[in-house]
């Protein structure tokens, strides 16, 4: 888990990008865009994630000169992507767009999925959360952020993160109970 943070990019490629090599920039983009988009899509949904990917990559290319390699490149990139995502969630107008996408996609993506049932169930469970609660849950449970980090990223307190996480977990438990009841109802009677 946490694939973006684990991403490794060679120093020679980074040096080539710094020197203005356009081909190298294209190779770097190709190497990191998928994982960056995956994380962004988890946090803000598909269409907004396209914008986040664009803004994140602009910042990566602009700030690469200042990247000293003290932290792994993947961690550095993840911080940029998360920051861009949370900007979307902090802005009332952008947050409204994320909510609208959730509503519009709540049916299509799940019913069209070819994933195993448990994976679909995970997607459905995530869809039940508000964008903010989902982002907090994902950052804490999957990306390993601390409550203090999440609170700071949102420009809020640590307890904000704890409250959002508790709310998200409660909804997930409700969803797990509902799914179990549905399974029991679907079990055919023994003859």
């Amino acid at each position: 888990m946490g694939k973006l943070a684990d991403l490794v990019v060679g120093d020679s490629l980074l040096a080539a990008v710094r020197s203005g090599d356009r081909d190298a920039a294209g190779r770097l983009y190709t190497a990191v865009a998928g994982p960056a988009y995956t994380l962004a899509r988890r946090l803000v949904g598909p269409a907004v994630a396209e914008d986040v990917l664009q803004d994140s990559m602009i910042r990566v290319f602009a700030a690469l000169g200042g990247f000293r390699g003290e932290a792994p490149f993947g961690s550095w990139l993840r911080r940029i992507v998360v920051t861009q995502c949370l900007m979307q969630l902090r802005s009332p107008w952008r947050r409204a767009r994320v909510y609208w996408e959730d509503f519009a996609q709540s049916a299509g993506e799940l019913t069209d999925s070819t994933d195993p049932a448990f994976a679909v169930d995970a997607e459905r469970a995530l869809r039940r959360l508000t964008p903010t609660a989902r982002a907090v849950l994902w950052l804490h449970a999957v990306e390993g952020y601390s409550h203090a980090d999440i609170g700071a990223q949102f420009g809020r307190s640590e307890s904000f993160s704890k409250t959002q996480l508790a709310r998200a977990l409660r909804r997930l438990r409700d969803h797990a109970n509902t799914s179990a009841e549905e399974l029991l109802c679907q079990t055919p009677p023994k003859s």
Binding site: M1, K3, A25, G26, Y29, T30, A33, G34, P35, A36, Y37, T38, R41, R42, P46, A49, E50, L53, Q54, D55, M57, I58, T83, M87, R90, S91, W93, R94, D115, P116, F118, A119, D121, A122, E123, A125, L126, L137, W138, A141, V142, G155, L169, L172, R173, H175, A176, N177, A180
Partner: protein
């Protein structure tokens, strides 16, 4: 009951490819730069246009038929025949005199400024977040906050004027 965080495990394994390749990324960046340049050029013009639109709407809502009706009522009370076509003409002319020159423009044009205002506010939110994270100069943060406050104020005025106009109609 399963641990709720375990539900996330399969979702965390899922990956999506990048939605666009590097040439498309460059094209998007170029388009975004053009939009920002246009936005900066017309930032002040937008504020002025919105204020003008708000003022126009206030005038529209203030100058409706009641003024003409008052004039007509004065004529009726002075003994004029209500069935007289001259009375209708006076009423129409009086009402026309009180109309702004282009009322349709004043009504419709608020839609574009509201959208532009909201976009600009969102852009300022982004810029403010970036400025705070990058510990930009205090003056720059203040400038962004000040512009945002002005735009929100303008947005409130437009919305209020729209509401007044809707109530008047």
């Amino acid at each position: 009951m399963p641990d709720p965080t375990q539900i996330l495990s399969p979702a965390a394994q899922r990956e999506w490819p990048a939605p666009y390749d590097y040439p498309a990324f460059e094209a998007r960046v170029a388009a975004a730069r053009r939009r920002v340049q246009v936005g900066q050029r017309f930032g002040v013009a937008t504020l002025a246009a919105v204020s003008l639109a708000a003022l126009s709407l206030l005038l529209v809502s203030a100058r409706q038929r009641p003024a003409a009706t008052t004039e007509a009522a004065a004529m009726v009370s002075s003994g004029a025949n209500p069935g007289d076509s001259a009375l209708a003409t006076v009423m129409d002319e009086s009402w026309l005199r009180h109309l702004p020159r282009e009322p349709a423009v004043a009504r419709v044009s608020t839609r574009a400024p509201v959208g532009m205002l909201q976009d600009r506010i969102a852009w300022l939110d982004d810029s403010l977040s970036a400025a705070l994270q990058e510990q930009a100069a205090h003056g720059e943060v203040l400038r962004l906050r000040s512009e945002r406050a002005q735009l929100v104020d303008a947005l409130v005025r437009v919305r209020y004027a729209e509401q007044l106009s809707a109530d008047a109609n």
